[in-house]
């Protein structure tokens, strides 16, 4: 049986600098042993432990979609020991990847429904995975209307810029990209995410909102969705906690009886209400 603490060896295949400040990059990994790719079958919303030998591990949401074969992508902000070391890495270098871990966005629950995706800043990564999954080929038919509201502080901090342009070209997606403050070249929306949500005013009918972003954004966005009539069962979010093992053993990421790494990170607001407010 696979030892869940041991990473799969992967090679850094491609590094994409996402933002002007250069502290957020997307890393594309390829498995060194081809059979590991099948073992790493994942669902959008799950995360992996990026493992750099000698530095340690960092839990990061998976940014690519399982429909993208041959590689796995993670978008990582430079912050601690491991992520800093990761940002120093070059294409061709070897490191480790553990997982996939956590539950995932509830795809079965989402099927047949209208989906509203709200993302803020760097937390957009696993939402990107979900979007790419839902719009891939035949998958698109399994979901109703898809509305995306995505905001960043300024245009330079938007992730996946090329993809955003591609998505905007599609007629089966309602894409709303906003920035807190634009610049000379910015022709899109300006304004905070909660305000844009109010403006777009997605219908609650047969709809689920998937919200992911900084705490301050979440705090002001939730009331908008409550006003629109969304129930707590139909608002889904993803939690962040300090994690180490990723498999519910090491004991630090629990919120009440649930481990964010194993039982989460994805919870509906109704589920979160049942947990202790300690996150």
């Amino acid at each position: 049986m696979q030892n869940p603490y041991i990473p799969y060896p992967v090679v850094v295949d491609k590094i994409i600098t996402e933002v002007d400040t250069k502290d957020i990059k997307t890393f594309r990994f390829k498995f060194i042993n081809p059979e590991d790719e099948a073992k790493y079958a994942y669902i959008p919303g799950q995360f992996g432990e990026l493992s750099i030998y000698g530095k340690g591990e960092s839990p990061i949401g998976i940014a690519s979609s399982p429909t993208q074969k041959g590689y796995v992508e993670f978008t990582v902000q430079k912050a601690g020991v491991v992520t800093s070391a990761l940002h120093e890495m070059e294409e061709g270098e070897v490191m480790g990847l553990r997982g996939p871990m956590g539950n995932s966005w509830p795809l079965e629950f989402l099927e047949g429904k209208n989906i509203v995706i709200v993302g803020g800043g760097f937390a957009f990564t696993t939402l990107r995975s979900l979007i790419n999954y839902m719009i891939y080929g035949e998958n698109r038919k399994r979901f109703g209307n898809i509305t995306v509201i995505y905001g960043a502080r300024n245009p330079g901090l938007l992730l996946y810029k090329d993809e955003l342009i591609e998505w905007q070209k599609r007629d089966d997606l309602n894409i709303n990209v906003t920035v807190d403050k634009g610049d000379a070249n910015w022709k899109g929306k300006e304004g905070f995410v909660p305000a844009v949500c109010k403006e777009v005013a997605p219908s609650k009918e047969n709809a689920v909102a998937v919200i992911c972003g900084p705490p301050i954004m979440i705090r002001f966005t939730l009331p908008v969705f409550f006003d629109l009539g969304f129930s707590k069962e139909n608002i889904i979010t993803s939690l962040e906690m300090r994690m180490k093992c990723g498999i519910g053993k090491c004991g630090r990421c629990n919120v009440g009886s649930k481990y964010v790494c194993k039982d989460g990170p994805v919870f509906s607001l109704a589920e979160l209400d049942k947990l202790t407010p300690e996150y």
Partner: protein, 340 residues
């Protein structure tokens, strides 16, 4: 399986004989402490102990343990998983409360979905021999309040009960039976069995320290925000003594260590009492003060573990009560909660 009888003074000899054949962990007197340590060739087990200073959980879950190794080569980093192998060994002479803790740890480390091979390998290859508590070793013992028994065999493979001049040897599991030959040919008769039952009943009565451990679960379910939580932690030093000595505490940290081109990934004990335990890279800490940490420890033992595994994560050994440098007494904490 038939039960055996051995003379009381034969015990050390049996432990030493086993130590000739495989690794034997036994209580050993080391200066002023009694610790479970591998029995050395010329070492003497110390069976005149009350209980060991530290919990014997370190046999299966050592303070520090290598998970994998890595080496820098011209072709890049190469790593190798530490093999989950463990030599056949015997843990000789644990108290029933500590044996009970292994059954509780199994629930976490040996879950269906994620198995912890490091723990499981050692657990599977180790035969646990318990020595029952005919008298409660300490006035702080409260095993009977948390589903334990002073003459209980939960978590043990062999149980020894002092019935006067002899030990009654009970082979609890097939793993225990395999070591039957070390305990001689004297078979226990019905009288010995009767004696044991009498002793077991008396031993239960002798435990006078009691806590309402089962009553607090529904109270904890509803009282996460009770002001009561402000009253425990004031004097807590935020040291890890209670958690390090606790037979059921199992939190750990993972870190990498490198020297030259060689490195190792280790896991080592961590503690929910340490402020850094939950601190995130961003600086945010969901458990901001010792209040939240104490609530976590209490909740984990008497609510969360019950929610997840239908068992209280406390065996009533009293080590945390005796070892806490500032005398925060979990018995009083639970008592106080029961009155909320």
């Amino acid at each position: 399986m038939e039960k055996s009888l051995i003379k009381k003074d034969a015990l050390a000899g049996i432990a030493k004989k086993m130590a000739g054949d495989f690794l034997v962990w036994a209580p050993v007197k080391k200066e002023d402490n009694v610790l479970f340590e591998p029995l050395q060739k010329d070492g003497e087990p110390f069976f005149a102990y009350l209980n060991s200073k530290n919990a014997p959980k370190n046999v299966f879950f050592p303070h520090t343990e290598a998970m994998m190794k890595f080496t820098r080569t011209p072709k890049g980093m190469v790593f190798s998983a530490e093999e989950n192998k463990a030599d056949q060994s015997v843990l000789f002479g644990v108290r029933p409360c500590d044996a009970h803790s292994f059954a509780l740890l199994d629930k976490l480390f040996d879950q269906e979905k994620y198995k912890d091979g490091y723990y499981i390998a050692k657990r599977q290859n180790t035969t646990v021999i318990s020595i029952a508590c005919v008298q409660p070793p300490y006035a702080t013992c409260f095993c009977t309040s948390v589903d334990g028994e002073p003459v209980g065999s939960e978590g043990a493979d062999i149980l020894l009960v002092d019935i006067g001049s002899d030990y009654l040897v009970e082979f609890v599991t097939p793993k225990g039976e395999k070591l039957a030959q070390y305990f001689g040919d004297a078979k226990a008769d019905a009288a010995a069995e009767t004696k044991k039952n009498e002793i077991a009943a008396k031993a239960v009565d002798a435990i006078t320290s009691k806590i309402p451990a089962h009553e607090v679960k529904p109270i904890l379910d509803k009282n996460f925000d009770n002001p009561f939580w402000n009253t425990i932690h004031g004097k807590c030093l935020a040291c890890g003594t209670c958690t390090y000595f606790c037979p059921t505490c199992h939190c750990f940290d993972i870190s990498d260590e490198v020297k030259g081109s060689d490195g190792v990934r280790i896991r080592s004990w961590d503690s929910c009492m340490f402020p850094m335990f939950t601190k995130e890279t961003s600086g945010h800490n969901p458990r901001t003060s010792q209040k939240e940490r104490w609530r976590q420890r209490t909740m984990h033992k008497f609510k969360y573990y019950v929610d997840n595994f239908d068992a209280i994560a406390c065996v009533g050994c009293g080590r945390c009560v005796m070892s806490c440098p500032v005398n925060i007494d979990i018995r009083k904490v639970v008592e106080d909660i029961s009155k909320l």
